[in-house]
Symmetry: C2
């Protein structure tokens, strides 16, 4: 049961030969969620062996080119390789017109529907839910409407301690109710307390994506206790003023957010092209939050399943 | 005085890890003309060291994604690196709406104007002219409106045979008229025949770009005598029916066109992703037209200046 993040590009606005713009993949139980879609995302997906067929949802943090210019080519390629399953793009409101214009000129041959689900609001909102996963959007603080995303596994169904099934002669009915988290009262009046009979089989995992943002107080609350936190790190300490002016974060901002949130691990990316060596930024992050790493494109950062 | 072609991508509709979609550069006397602009063109321009500042004109053959999805990122990047000089995009009519939609959402901060010059017509048309160069568009035969481009140096001003200047005591007035190609009648009644006194200093060079097209009779006429011909070669002999159905060319089609046109050299590109080894296509072209080569991305194909 995989829960793993892979970046496809760690450039900010100006891509370079070795750095593609923002696009990332979260693999949750072999279903791929694409997060942002900068130019060349389709090339990077191929490079790292991700099947286009496993992507159904795309999450766009905001409508700046370095986060969406890859959507045109990706959707066109999906059509050319014969896709028929609908696509769901979660993006701020202004994406609607862009999508309409694109589909008018290039979508005539598509055999699948491209649905735009509008992200909005000043508070975290549940935007996606499946049997095992929920995804929330939360507002960031950038020059235009911009959102982060929190992916978290739902608490799994409880398991019954096996040795008690026989010992207490549990019936199928009693097992089902215990698994649902309820206490069970037997005809004899005996109460089987849920906590005595059950356990949570594994700790639900979580990942948060903080796209372009100036630091702000509430952000750490939005991503509280997350296992893996991706936080943009466009600048280093030398460019703090530039970071404030452009509403971006420094390595220290990212690390402070990770620390305050009590995150398990921090991944930094979205580097300004002026930093040829991103380790300068990593060192600044590590000083504040030691569990920091560069979100190197193509490297899979998996959150292990921890049995309880 | 350079006149050289470099491809940035030789993929057709489906880009692969090693093949970017169509985009090419023609360097004419250190001025760069961008021909088509598939996704990732800006990355490839950087990779091969082309300065964005030297590009003022962009030529779009037709409005299929693999020929234009790089325009968004390229224009945005030009803006971010501080461009102020206007851009001229030569493209079929339907590009107008696409450009308008793009500029509405992303062009607000541009400090330069993006001009769309509409290409149209059933015959070759002069679409650009400078002191030393002219560019013609000509219709191709694809599923939608599609155009090729012919770049040719103008005939240079004539030079005077140096040894005759002193021998015949040519005046500055006489030299100027001879250089303009005229005969000169002296007061004595003597006529200085232009052909006796002048020569063309070098042979004007030419390059033609035949983008997506099914073969058709007139194409060889449009590119008659061209020094360097780029002709799409999406398919090989094994996929001739597919080539017809999709209105593309095979290696043989490209080579026949080059032969009938009396081209100096043929470059093939725009390969279907099914051909992992493009030499199969090259061999088929060479059989018909030996001066064929693959338009390998990043390789400069220069036409030497031949003095006469």
């Amino acid at each position: 049961m995989k829960f793993a993040f892979t970046s496809l590009g760690c450039a900010s606005a100006l891509p370079t030969v070795n750095r593609f713009p923002s696009a990332h993949v979260l693999n949750v139980h072999e279903r791929l969620f694409l997060i942002d879609c900068g130019e060349g995302a389709q090339i990077q997906l191929r490079r790292y062996g991700f099947s286009f067929l496993k992507i159904r949802e795309i999450f766009i943090s905001h409508i700046h080119g370095d986060h969406i210019f890859g959507i045109y080519g990706l959707l066109s390629t999906m059509s050319m390789i014969g896709r028929s399953a609908d696509i769901y793009i979660y993006a701020p409101e202004s994406f609607g017109e862009i999508l309409t214009s694109f589909l008018t000129h290039f979508g005539g041959v598509f055999k699948f529907k491209v649905n735009h689900i509008v992200i909005k609001g000043d508070l975290p909102e549940l935007i996606f839910e499946s049997k095992s996963l929920e995804i929330l959007s939360f507002p960031l603080n950038h020059r235009i409407d911009c959102y982060g995303f929190l992916f978290r596994e739902k608490r799994p169904k409880k398991n019954i301690h096996k040795h008690l099934i026989e010992k207490e002669s549990l019936t199928l009915f009693e097992i089902a109710r215990l698994k649902d988290g309820e206490d069970v009262e037997r005809d004899s009046g005996e109460v089987l307390k849920n906590e005595d009979y059950t356990y949570i089989p594994y700790k639900p995992r979580s990942f948060a994506y903080c796209s372009d943002t100036a630091p702000f107080q509430k952000l750490a609350l939005y991503v509280k206790g997350v296992d893996l936190l991706y936080h943009e790190t466009t600048f280093g300490a030398d460019m703090e003023k530039m970071a404030r002016d452009t509403m971006h974060s420094t390595a220290a901002d990212a690390a402070i957010c990770a620390k305050e949130a009590g995150a398990g691990r921090l991944l930094i990316g979205h580097f300004s092209s002026r930093y040829k060596d991103q380790n300068i930024l990593l060192e600044q992050a590590i000083e504040i939050f030691p569990q920091s790493a560069v979100a190197d494109p193509g490297v899979e950062f998996a959150i292990p399943l921890i049995k309880t």
